[in-house]
């Protein structure tokens, strides 16, 4: 279980407890947190669950697998802290993680 903070583009914060084994994307979708679309349902086939990981947390996360950066190329305004939230698996180690939503997903 990890407490994760989702910060909308307008600054609104949502803190939810997400079960281990779910993804950061699922944590948002299951809790009706706006800002993450996840059109493809988590198959790394779109780029609509794009988030910016908070400074300090980015390097602590498990590294990107092949293909994630390719999809991020197609995201809205990606930067060096960009991840697809469907590829971040929640574990106890992620307790306290904060992610920022982009202005929009598409």
């Amino acid at each position: 279980m990890a407490k994760i903070k989702y910060i909308e583009y307008n600054g609104k914060e949502h803190v939810v407890e997400v079960q281990n084994g779910l993804t950061v994307m699922e944590g948002a979708v299951q809790n009706d947190i706006p800002g993450i679309d996840a059109d493809c349902g988590g198959s790394m086939s779109c780029a609509t669950c794009h988030v910016y990981v908070k400074e300090g947390w980015y390097d602590k996360l498990p590294k990107k697998e092949m293909g994630e950066d390719d999809m991020l190329d197609q995201a809205y305004e990606p930067n060096s802290k960009s991840r697809l939230s469907c590829q971040i698996m929640v574990s106890d180690d992620l307790d306290g993680l904060s992610v920022y939503m982009p202005e929009k997903q598409v």
Binding site: S43, S45, C46, E77, V106
Partner: protein, 337 residues
């Protein structure tokens, strides 16, 4: 005006199998898709990725699945209308008049929306100023490459479209290629070629850069790019091309008076009809309690929606359930003995 029993919106696996079911029960249909090819997300998003959860098919790719579905509906000789998008639905007596982007018109008692997460559209630049030049000098696809002859062209992106066009246009134009990171997702041979062209100064290559602004009075003059650290550079550009892949947008569907739940259309699970009589929704675009976004669920939904269509297409006939193994009528429709 094309008269038919059913118009299917979307040529993905769900739409294709629904067409099959319509053919089996003796109905005609016309299939419209915004993409230039058949297969929907299977073809556009993951043609080479293996799928492991199609019943009785241990493993197949999106492309194989599409080809098999096409083979399965071949006997019915249904028409596809590709590169076209359904724009408008209007009710006329007991029929729907379906109008497409290209001006085609259908008259049908049934519309089956099998539109996935919407139609695929190119992802555009987020810079406001790019909108002003959209379609004239800021482009997301190329129809006629001769317009770039002897011009300065700034190409953004790191996939095959961006690389292929950079290589191709470097023969006739002054090309700059700009990509947000050092690695490219295009084919290794193209990446190699780009690096060679860059070494020979035939292409100006800027990695770890993205677009900041486009400028010009009337016509486009230059594009401003920024590095990861925020440093700006100005490049001369007559054209700016963006190849960031495709995004899915619901598009005109939201204007048809259908109930919407987030980006999905609520349906009943008896025949997958929406709140509008004669309009059905199946596959990823529909929602109901327990909905799973699986291809196999789409097949089931398509089979039931097809029976729902029968009622409106043949109001004076009673639908008879038949098995393909036993029915001679079905065998005739399939052209098998």
């Amino acid at each position: 005006m094309i008269k038919t029993d059913v118009v299917i919106i979307g040529a993905g696996p769900t739409g294709l199998f629904c067409a099959h079911q319509l053919g089996i029960i003796g109905l005609k249909c016309e299939i419209v898709d915004n993409l230039d090819k058949i297969g929907g997300q299977c073809i556009e998003l993951y043609p080479d990725k293996p799928i492991y959860d199609i019943p009785a098919v241990p493993e197949c790719t999106g492309e194989e699945l599409t080809n098999n579905l096409l083979e399965q509906i071949k006997p019915f000789k249904f028409n596809f209308h590709l590169n076209d998008r359904v724009q408008e639905l209007t009710n006329e007596n007991d029929n729907w008049i379906v109008k497409t982007n290209s001006g085609k018109k259908f008259q049908t008692p049934n519309v089956v929306i099998a539109g996935g997460v919407g139609s695929f559209e190119p992802r555009k630049f987020s810079t406001k100023s790019a909108e002003k030049f959209d379609g004239t000098s800021v482009l997301y696809s190329i129809k006629d490459k001769t317009i770039f002859k002897d011009k300065s062209v700034a190409i953004f992106g790191g996939g095959d479209s961006a690389l292929d066009w950079a290589i191709e246009l470097s023969n006739i134009s002054k090309v700059s290629l700009i990509h947000r990171r050092d690695e490219f997702r295009g084919a290794p041979a193209s990446v190699q070629k780009i690096k060679e062209l860059s070494k020979k100064n035939i292409i100006n290559l800027f990695t770890k850069h993205s677009i900041k602004d486009v400028k010009g009075n009337g016509s486009l003059d230059e594009v401003e790019i920024k590095s990861e650290e925020g440093e700006s550079k100005i490049l001369k550009a007559d054209y700016v091309l963006g190849f960031f892949g495709l995004i899915m947008q619901l598009g005109p569907i939201v204007e048809w008076g259908l109930n919407l739940d987030k980006k999905a259309i609520p349906v009943n699970t008896e025949n997958f009809e929406t709140n509008k009589k004669g309009i059905f929704a199946i596959g990823d675009i529909c929602t109901y309690p327990g909905k799973l976004k699986l291809i196999l669920s789409g097949f089931h939904e398509g089979a039931l929606a097809a029976r729902g269509c029968f009622k409106y297409a043949r109001p004076n006939e009673k639908y008879r359930f038949e098995f393909t193994t036993a029915s001679n009528t079905i065998k005739d429709r399939l052209g098998v003995k």
